[in-house]
């Protein structure tokens, strides 16, 4: 028997006070690593094109958008070629929508695991949020290739890019904690995800610039529009990488506020409901 101090776990019906137990999370970091590794390994198994799918999907989206919205509808693109303008939006948005759709089903899909063993349940929604980053970074290579092709170079503001990526992950995780814990109790979430996805898609400035909102509806509406965190993220991507506009700090700031609120409320709700997951699963 080891002589280290023995940790004592108390199991009772009361709720725990800690919202996120960082010490415990650190202990389970290897499990998170293998969960993410599993998702990545399994994703493109038994496909012919394999990881190429991470390139094909966004490229086709870009082509379709360029033809329909760029050519036919002549939507403005802040003065840069429409394909690269839309791709800079597709890139973060695809990460957001893919991680949301898999995070919303993450708990429902892992009942076989968490009804049989204890580990911090938060790892379950955290896994897809992290593993979808792989597709994101692969698709990022296309953006770099397009920048070279169109002769567009990033500004010094590219130093803010990591911050934008963190904001994007934080938002996904915040909404993900809400959706996953709601979905395990109410399977309605599964059916609602279809239109939630398209709603999020068309309301994000993927095929049009956010400046369009400011022009049409005024600054106040534009600022409120920024409460949708992906608005600031997408516009921030365009500014820092393509250098069309100065960094839109106003809408990024708005996005940060709502993203942090979503994250904290999501964590609280997840914590409050996680003790019944095994009972309702």
């Amino acid at each position: 028997m080891k002589n280290t101090t023995v940790p004592k776990f108390v199991i009772e019906s009361k709720k725990s006070r800690k919202i996120i137990d960082l010490k415990e999370l650190r202990y389970y970091k290897d499990l998170l690593y293998f969960f993410v590794l599993r998702d990545i390994t399994v994703l493109y198994k038994q496909t012919i094109l394999g990881i190429l799918w991470a390139l094909i999907n966004p490229v086709f989206q870009m082509v379709i958008f360029s033809v329909i919205f760029g050519k036919l509808a002549s939507i403005p693109s802040d003065g840069i070629p429409y394909p690269i303008f839309s791709f800079a939006g597709i890139l973060p948005f695809n990460y957001f929508s893919q991680s949301l759709s898999s995070v919303s089903l993450s708990l429902v899909g892992s009942t076989g695991i968490f009804t049989k063993i204890y580990f911090p349940r938060i790892l379950i929604p955290l896994t897809p949020v992290l593993s979808k980053l792989v597709d994101f970074f692969i698709a990022f290579l296309i953006l770099i290739a397009m920048m070279i092709y169109f002769n567009i170079y990033p500004t010094w503001e590219i130093v803010f890019l990591p911050m934008l990526i963190i904001l994007m992950i934080l938002t996904s995780m915040g909404i993900g904690m809400w959706l996953s814990s709601l979905a395990i109790q109410y399977r309605d979430v599964k059916f609602a995800m279809g239109f939630i996805s398209s709603l999020l898609m068309y309301s994000a400035p993927v095929v049009f610039p956010a400046s369009l909102i400011a022009d049409k509806a005024g600054y106040t509406v534009y600022l409120l529009y920024g409460l949708y965190p992906m608005v600031g993220v997408i516009e921030g991507f365009r500014s820092s990488l393509l250098g069309i506009n100065p960094m839109p700090w106003d809408i990024i700031g708005m996005g940060c506020i709502s993203s942090v609120l979503l994250f904290i409320s999501g964590a609280v709700y997840f914590k409050r409901t996680e003790r019944i997951f095994a009972d309702v699963a």
Partner: protein, 432 residues
């Protein structure tokens, strides 16, 4: 350091079970109820999801009620009980999978729960990848798995296929690999549910031996099972759960015997009064029972035991009497015919009570369920005076030789002690 590994203090667990919905009489009412149902569904789901305000109600089901026990460091405790007695719920609470409704439990030290083997196995991944995934799910770190990896693969016996996708494994290989991971965890407390009864006989023996080794290494083990062999081999003390309550606690052999005794007592002993005894024209049966002749309350595989019958003879004249019975197993196979005619002795019957006992020698029957299927009372060796079908049903339990390190549960109907001799000579001596 605490002397306890697990303390369970007055734990109860309630579930709200959805009650049957009322059916509408007309199509119109049914349609109307669909539109009203979202609100109703929400209320039902919401109620089933919250346990904060427990009030007695019709659909409240107590899976556990005021259960308390302690498990000391390094000890092994068994939990037995029928299906639905609350064994798994108890283990899930101690494993921190689900919360108790009332009461609390304390677990001292790291614990590993084996409520099934191979939790989280992904068939698209290779054996190696699954070892790491399953190991970390069970609470090991990557470093620990690295150092145990060879032992795991060695125990599983699938080293040739370790880099093959698990979907190409046979189910036996999957189980072996999964169990191998679980068997190599080092924790202070281990919580095991039924996983020792998987795989083929060889593997069961191997895994039980491994568990005994782990418990000797100082790990406290909590073991719930239907299979008494591992409990008898591993646990000094056992809890008997019934309908969510502890009905019995104490020495494992006593608890298991009593549990089995309760299960089979109505058919292992039959007793009638002279007035209501089953009867033919000439013979009444008063009593039939099967008794152990060891000082244990149960009959274990290989133990000697005794049948006792009591008859009442109504014929006036003395005669030569013979008794004969068929012993069958659970599948109605005839094991043997026991008969006094085979003894070359004469037994005389006079009017009045006749007591018969028949001793079954040691090293004859293996574990299993047996039936005294036909009983005949004969006058002379031919004339049937009385016959009785399906008279006694009794159980012979598995033995406890595991404790002595010998092979334990062996399949087969018989458990004979055979006379073996093995001799060998050096080859060159033969040639000389």
């Amino acid at each position: 350091m605490s002397e306890y590994a697990v303390r369970v203090n007055d734990v109860s667990k309630a579930f709200l079970i959805g009650l049957k919905e009322t059916r509408k009489e007309t199509l119109g009412a049914e349609l109307l109820s669909w539109f009203r149902s979202p609100r109703k569904n929400y209320n039902t789901l919401k109620r089933l999801n919250t346990f904060d305000h427990i009030e007695e109600s019709e659909d409240l089901f107590w899976a556990l009620r005021n259960v308390s026990f302690d498990l000391k460091q390094g000890e092994t405790l068994g939990i037995i009980g029928d299906n639905g007695a609350g064994k798994s719920t108890m283990l899930k609470i101690i494993s921190r999978i689900t919360n108790p409704t009332l009461g609390h439990a304390e677990v001292y030290g790291r614990s590993a729960s084996l409520l099934e083997v191979g939790t989280g196995f992904n068939s698209e991944l290779t054996g190696r990848e699954n070892v790491y995934l399953n190991g970390t799910i069970l609470g090991m770190t990557k470093k620990e798995i690295d150092s145990k990896f060879d032992a795991i693969v060695d125990f599983s016996g699938v080293e040739k296929f370790i880099d093959t996708q698990v979907k190409k494994y046979s189910s036996g290989m999957r189980i072996r690999l999964a169990f191998a991971v679980a068997a190599n965890i080092e924790t202070e407390v281990m919580i095991i549910d039924e996983v020792l009864s998987i795989g083929d006989a060889d593997f069961r023996k191997k895994s039980l031996e491994k568990m005994i080794e782990i418990s000797r290494g100082g790990t406290a083990i909590l073991l719930a099972t239907h299979n008494f062999l591992p409990i008898q081999a591993m646990c000094k003390n056992t809890i008997h759960l019934d309908h969510g309550k502890i009905v019995n606690y104490g020495n494992t052999n006593d608890i298991v015997s009593k549990y089995l005794g309760d299960m089979s007592k109505d058919k292992a002993r039959q007793h009638w009064t002279l007035e209501d005894a089953p009867s033919s024209d000439s013979i009444k049966i008063i009593k039939a029972e099967v008794l152990p002749v060891t000082n244990l309350p149960v009959i274990r595989a290989g133990d000697p035991f005794e049948f006792r019958f009591e008859f009442y003879n109504m014929l006036d004249n003395d005669y030569d009497i013979n008794i004969m019975f068929h012993l069958t197993d659970d599948y109605d196979n005839l094991i043997f015919i026991g008969s006094t005619t085979l003894t070359n002795l004469k037994y005389r019957a006079a009017k009045g009570f006749i007591n018969v006992s028949c001793r079954i020698p040691e090293n004859l029957l293996n574990h299993g369920k047996f039936t005294v299927n036909k009983l005949y009372v004969l006058q002379g060796s031919e004339k049937v005076l009385y016959e009785h079908s399906n008279l006694l049903v009794f159980e012979i339990t598995g033995d406890v030789e595991y404790e002595k390190g010998k092979s334990g549960k062996i399949d087969g109907i018989m458990k004979p002690k055979l006379g073996w001799e093995v001799s060998s000579k050096k080859e060159n001596e033969v040639l000389v």
